[in-house]
């Protein structure tokens, strides 16, 4: 038994080691290849230094990166990200870039770029850097191997204890290596369990969207009703993601944001003019074997959107509030009262009505009428 355990353990450790080494090698291979042929390496480097404000002496201008991040962060950055500008100007000349930089359009940009003066040669370098960025994409985030290292370390300790127990006998008391093995194994199992529970769940998921669409601006500041855009939430399974044409109901007039300026809304207008849909990144997603109907919850159950989606009106970047796990669904069903009096449909539950009128029961929960049964969601 212990031999087998040892075999599995070492196999596992070896495979992790291999995986780790492979990702490191793959990572380096990628980064060494990030230079394009269009501009010389020094131009790109110089442009990057200028963009990031790494200059030998203090510049009167703020660095580009102080406003134009690589990409939107957790907190919203209303300015276009560097990658977006880079992609937009990839097939344009540095004169075009210069023109828009020095003679900005739109209210927001005019204010932000008011006192900016960049020498022409620097613009060329920045353009070189940006072209390089657009062609090669953003530098990849290096994956965090902390957990893996911990896992391996514990594995190593365990292996040592096992070897000691069987071959070396360096530790006087046998109980110590056994205790170490048990603890280490327990810790590893716990790590695996936690990881397994999280599989397929994505609470706090908050991806970047192709347009910096802010629910706070729309639902919070401007108080647009959820059902204006998600207008099938009370009648269909899907709540409906608004079509480009629906966005244009307002944006046919609203062409500049108070903070985002023209850049973001222009993406929408362009999509509209080209007859395209916006390809949003999907956030809330249930597995295929779950049949969830918005209509049941919003239309029949009269739930508030926020109950599942959180305070969307306060989110600039939309985030998944709840883990949407089965346990979370069932809990809510146990705690949610059914509107037994007003909806004619529930008249057929004679016995429950009797119990209610007799006072033996003060309310009917969703789970009482079968909301927690398998085939309510799985069929």
């Amino acid at each position: 038994m212990s031999h087998q355990l040892f075999k599995v353990q070492s196999l596992l450790n070896l495979s992790f080691l291999a995986l780790f080494l492979f990702s490191c090698i793959a990572g380096t291979a990628k980064s060494s290849d990030s230079h394009s042929g269009k501009h010389s390496r020094s131009d790109v480097k110089q442009g990057e230094r200028y963009y990031k404000g790494l200059l030998p002496k203090a510049s009167p201008n703020p660095s580009c990166v102080s406003c134009h991040y690589y990409k939107p962060a957790d907190t919203i950055n209303w300015n276009p990200a560097s990658i977006e500008i880079a992609e937009l100007y990839l097939n344009k000349s540095s004169e075009d870039l210069e023109e828009v930089l020095l003679s900005p359009f739109g209210k927001v940009m005019s204010v932000a770029h008011a006192n900016i003066d960049v020498p022409q040669d620097q613009i060329q370098y920045v353009k070189a850097y940006m072209d390089n960025l657009a062609e090669n994409g953003l530098p990849k985030d290096k994956p965090s191997f902390l957990k893996l290292l911990l896992f391996l370390l514990i594995g190593g300790v365990m292996t040592w204890a096992l070897l000691d127990l069987i071959f070396f006998h360096k530790v006087k008391f046998k109980a110590i290596p056994i205790l170490i093995i048990l603890l280490a194994l327990g810790y590893q199992l716990n790590m695996a369990y936690e990881a397994a529970v999280k599989l397929g769940r994505s609470d706090t998921y908050q991806p970047d969207q192709p347009i910096k669409f802010s629910h706070k601006v729309h639902a919070g500041d401007n108080k647009i009703d959820c059902m204006y855009c998600h207008h099938t939430a009370d009648e269909s399974k899907s709540a409906n993601i608004p079509s480009t044409s629906l966005c244009m109901n307002c944006h046919i007039v609203v062409r500049e944001g108070a903070r985002s300026g023209k850049f973001e809304i222009k993406k929408l207008v362009e999509a509209y003019e080209e007859g395209r849909s916006i390809e949003w990144v999907r956030i809330h997603q249930l597995p295929d074997h779950v049949f969830f109907a918005h209509a049941q919850h919003v239309g029949a159950g009269k739930l508030d959107c926020a109950q599942c989606h959180g305070a969307v009106e306060e989110m600039h970047i939309l985030k998944q509030e709840n883990d949407l796990s089965m346990g979370w669904c069932l809990n809510c069903h146990r705690e949610t009262k059914v509107d037994f009096e007003d909806n004619e449909y529930y008249q057929m539950f004679d016995e429950f009505h009797k119990e209610l009128s007799e006072g033996t029961r003060d309310s009917i929960m969703a789970s009482d009428i079968g909301a927690n049964e398998c085939s309510k969601c799985h069929y």
């Binding site: 995986l19 896992f151 599989l199 480009t244 849909s277 049941q296 057929m348 398998c374």
Partner: protein, 978 residues
């Protein structure tokens, strides 16, 4: 009960000795032990990989509409009225569209033709749309070509040929579209072309007989619901003859002991091979196919003698047959004016005599009317004569396949090859299109605009419910383009309607509104003036003389029949239809020669022994009730082109059909049977299902029932009386779903099976897996024989999950994947199932199905896939109902009582703040049943139909003595025999 011992099953003596599960059928492409190891490692690997935390969830896109159409909401179905017409099969339908994909056809309740129910073929036609073998662009000699060039080349050639005076022939199947007819006429005038109509199954003999006797070459309307006595001579009117769905509905009206009068109609069937209709007859009389002529003459003469009319002396049928016919004759005489005689033979002489019989019975005006005549089956032999007779300049073929389904296929082939120009307008490759120079493919009917006048006075519209999937063009658009007419085809139809039908109504004045209304409702009905009939007795006399001179030829007769699902051969391309077993023999995926038990015994033939019969080499099947000297073979099999290799099955029987006096007869006389010594296992889905002395399918005669409504069902009270349980029962405080099936009405047509397939994403497993007893259908229609082996009585019983209140499966599931709901459903959570199959072993009804292999592509391990019918590619996956999980390998599945429909309808009621009303919620099987044999509903609602049926004295439950308390009830079959 007295009946219980007389049921028997397939004649065991004719079963081959060797085990059904030979090595080949079991060689599945998976090594079980390595898979387990792989799964273990995979499980470990996934959990560990997640540990690394750098593992990110894949980014999924959510892409909305650009402009959202008003009537389409994601997650919600839209329904469009349309029609189905293919190979003489018509149905008025509602197309269910989810997210722009048609996924199901449902009967159009506003239709005057088939308001309730469709055929199985219509249900399965969804799969035809997503057929991977469809042509997807025009070709010239196999090379891709663009439409403009093809049009230009063809038109130039057509004009040249027309100028030279060469023949231009357009061959189509029956076209019932008034607008298309008009267009074809225009085409013919422009190019001096000739239009020929060719059908694989001919009914021109009927039209000819009606022309001779009544001067009216039409197919009249039959009213089976108005007949007290139906006599059918080899006519499968419930399965394949003329308009079976309509006739089934009419038939069922007179088989209803709950709503209708208590006097059932009496149905006599005189036939050779056991047909679906014959197996449902009250009294089935066995007669060889070559005796049909003598039978009709005998009936005629008898009636004529009774009526004092002249008759022709002729040789009577055998003494035994004459004796069997005596009851029939006296019933006919008794029911004059309320009787109907039909004959299923295309021989015009027989039909003339049948007309004479119906004339004497005064059927015209009551059970046969001549107003709303049928427009289909217009094909004649003349079409093939034209092709063969002359040197063809150009031939344009549209959805016809004579190279496969005509006896002179070789000559037709040569003629097409010799033609200077040959063009096909079909949507699917077939044996005929393979020969054509140009292939100008048309889309499926769900991508097309069209209209249809199936019956005179009822005009329907077909509208597209799917964007064209490929670079294809409707045949009508092609003709318009050749004519240089740039009208859009839809506008052409509309203009034709406004010019003709708009004037026939007064309700809507606005022309556009009229058109929109018609498209929305699907049908337009106008009055047809009745025609006066003049009866020509001389013709009847002539026919009697001709038939009486018929020579008796020794040897066997081969009778060509249509399988209810495969039809003329179109169904062979559809894996759902192939996998749905024949309702009589219960064989899927193959055709065979049905022979009588006595002959089989004489010659030592067992099921599956390959025999040589006439020109065919085909496995034999011993069919109880088969006439001794008739061998029945189904046409439609043996297709080779346009079909995946795995679906090529059976033998083409069309070459056997006989052309006599210009009419196609589906029989050939004077053949012999020879054993070849070969053996081919038949995919029989009902191997051993003897009732084992238990009253599973109960029955009684009408007389017994009138005396005591519990007749045949005495067991029920006993079972109820003794029932007791240690377990506390379930409480149903809200709904309690239940189903009742009236065995008196069920004919076994299998429309329910195919509707269930479509609705519930049931996989196709293929012939090899059917042989390994792995078929997946959630409904099976058991068929039991009783009585004489020569002419048994048949009873059918559809069996699906019984949703027992005391379910044996629920107790044994180690992971509680199957359990009971508060609404009486036996729920099955696929994602919880680990595949122990304990439930399957413990189910007394054997209705649970196990996914032995990954038939659907839902499995995450690609090597597990087993998909002989090519149904896991993206195109065919579009057929899936998004409301039902596509099951992966290793899980059990079974009937869910269409829980997705229950959920949907309940939600609709809640949203509208009203109670669910009875009949609103229909299961897919119930919806497809044109006979209303299946009723689904809430038994907790005492007013509901199903609750009423559960209280009927005829109601019982399957194996009720073991106290499983099923939610499915059966009503005993009542036969109207004296």
């Amino acid at each position: 009960m007295s009946e219980e011992n007389k049921y028997w099953h397939i004649l065991d003596e004719f079963e081959p000795v060797e085990d059904a599960r030979t090595k080949e059928t079991l060689d599945v492409p998976v090594d079980a032990s390595s898979r387990r190891n792989f799964l273990k490692l995979l499980g470990l690997g996934t959990a560990s990989a997640e540990l690394i935390a750098s593992c990110k969830r894949p980014v999924e896109k959510a892409i909305p509409y650009f402009i959202k159409p008003e009537e389409i909401s994601p997650g919600k179905a839209a329904y469009y009225a349309s029609s189905y017409f293919n190979q003489n099969e018509f149905s008025s339908v509602l197309v269910k569209v989810r997210d722009n994909r048609p996924i199901k056809l449902e009967p159009n309740p506003k239709s005057v033709i088939n308001p309730s129910g469709t055929s199985g073929k219509v249900q399965a036609s969804v799969l035809d749309v997503y057929n991977v073998n469809r042509f997807n662009h025009p070709t010239k000699s196999g090379e891709k070509i663009d439409w403009a060039t093809a049009d230009q080349e063809i038109v130039t050639q057509l004009r040249e040929l027309a100028n030279q005076g060469d023949n231009i022939i357009l061959v189509t199947p029956t076209i019932i579209s008034p607008s298309t007819q008009k267009l074809i006429a225009e085409f013919c005038t422009e190019f001096n072309a000739e239009w020929q109509v060719y059908d694989a199954i001919a009914m021109d003999g009927y039209r000819e007989a009606n022309r001779r006797v009544y001067g009216n070459a039409v197919l009249p309307e039959y009213h089976f619901d108005k007949a007290e006595c139906i006599v059918s001579i080899g006519c499968d009117f419930l399965g394949t003859w003329l308009s079976p769905v309509e006739f089934s509905a009419q038939y069922a009206k007179r088989r209803d002991l709950r709503k209708g009068t208590h006097d059932l109609n009496r149905h006599y069937q005189v036939e050779a091979g056991m047909s679906l209709t014959g197996s449902n007859a009250d009294i089935r009389i066995r007669a060889d196919k070559n005796e049909y002529g003598r039978v009709v003459t005998y009936i005629y003469n008898h009636l004529a003698a009774k009526n004092g009319l002249p008759f022709i002396e002729s040789k009577p049928p055998t003494a035994e047959l004459a004796e069997n016919l005596s009851g029939l004759l006296s019933d006919l005489v008794e029911n004059k004016g309320k009787a109907l005689v039909v004959c299923g033979d295309n021989n015009p002489e027989y039909q003339v005599i049948v007309n004479g019989i119906n004339q004497m019975l005064k059927s015209n005006g009551t059970t046969i009317t001549w107003n709303n005549n049928y427009n289909h089956f217009q094909g004649t032999e003349k079409s093939i004569d034209t092709i063969l007779k002359e040197n063809i300049g150009a031939i344009v073929l549209w959805d016809v396949n004579p190279v496969y389904n005509h006896p002179s296929a070789d000559k037709v082939k040569a003629a097409i090859e010799k033609a200077k120009l040959s063009v096909t307008l079909s949507s699917l490759p077939d044996e005929t299109s393979d020969l054509c120079d140009y292939v100008l493919p048309s889309p499926s009917f769900m991508e097309s605009w069209d209209d249809a006048e199936y019956k005179k006075g009822v005009v329907s519209v077909l509208q597209p419910t799917l964007h064209k999937l490929f670079d294809v063009r409707q045949a009508q658009e092609t003709l318009l383009s050749w004519l240089g007419n740039d009208t859009v085809w839809r506008e052409y139809i509309k203009n034709n309607w406004l010019a003709n039908y708009y004037l026939l109504q007064t309700t809507t004045l606005d022309k556009d509104r009229f058109w929109v209304n018609v498209v929305r409702s699907g049908e337009f009905v106008y009055d047809v003036k009745s025609t006066l009939l003049t009866y020509n007795f001389d013709e009847v006399k002539k026919a009697l003389v001709t038939v009486s001179k018929e020579k008796v030829v020794d040897g066997f007769v081969i009778e060509l029949v249509e399988n209810i699902n495969i039809g003329t051969g179109h169904g062979a391309l559809n894996p759902w239809l192939q996998e749905c077993p024949d309702p009589v023999t219960r064989i899927a995926w193959d055709n065979y020669a049905s022979i009588a038990p006595s002959i089989a015994r004489q010659m030592g033939i067992k099921n599956g022994d390959v025999i040589k019969v006439g020109a065919l080499t085909i496995p034999a099947f011993v069919q109880p009730g088969q006439a001794d000297h008739t061998v029945s073979v189904a046409v439609g099999y043996g297709r080779t082109i346009g079909i995946p290799k795995e679906l090529v099955t059976g033998v083409n029987a069309y070459p056997l059909s006989l052309i006599q006096n210009g009419f196609r007869l589906n029989s050939v006389v004077g053949v012999s049977i020879e054993k070849t010594g070969e053996f081919e296992k038949l995919p029989l889905v009902q191997g051993h299902q003897s009732q084992e002395g238990r009253p599973l399918a109960r029955e009684a005669t009408l007389k017994e029932w009138k005396h005591d409504h519990h007749a045949g069902n005495e067991m029920h009270e006993v079972a109820e009386h003794h029932a007791t349980s240690l377990y506390p029962g379930h409480e149903y405080k809200g709904h309690k779903w239940a189903m009742a099936i009236d065995l008196s009405k069920c004919t076994g047509c299998s429309a329910c099976v195919l509707a269930c397939n479509t609705e519930n994403n049931i996989p196709v497993v293929g012939k090899k897996e059917v042989l390994a007893v792995h078929e997946m259908a959630w409904i099976r229609i058991d068929r039991y024989y009783s009585g004489e082996e020569d002419n048994p009585e048949v009873v059918r019983q559809p069996v699906m999950c019984q949703h027992c209140d005391n379910a044996p499966c629920e107790n044994v599931c180690p992971v509680a994947a199957t359990n009971h709901s508060s609404e009486g459903l036996n729920q099955m959570a696929y994602n919880r199932c680990i595949g122990t199959r304990y439930c399957n072993n413990n189910c007394p009804y054997k209705v649970r199905r196990f996914n032995w292999l990954d038939y659907t592509g839902a499995d995450s391990i690609p090597n597990n896939r087993y998909d002989p019918a090519n149904l896991t590619v993206d195109l065919s996956r579009m057929r899936h109902n998004p409301d039902v999980t596509v099951r992966a390998k290793g899980v059990i599945e079974k009937c869910s009582f269409c829980v997705q429909r229950i959920q949907e309808k309940k939600l609709n009621a809640k949203l509208e703040g009203r109670q669910l009303y009875d009949g609103e919620l229909q299961s897919a099987c119930q919806q497809a049943c044109s006979l209303n044999a299946i009723v689904f509903g809430d038994v907790n609602n005492p007013e509901s139909e199903v609750a009423q049926m559960m209280k009927d004295p005829r109601n019982y439950h399957l194996l009720e003595e073991i106290h499983t308390l099923p939610s499915v009830g059966y009503l005993t079959k009542i036969r109207n025999i004296s």
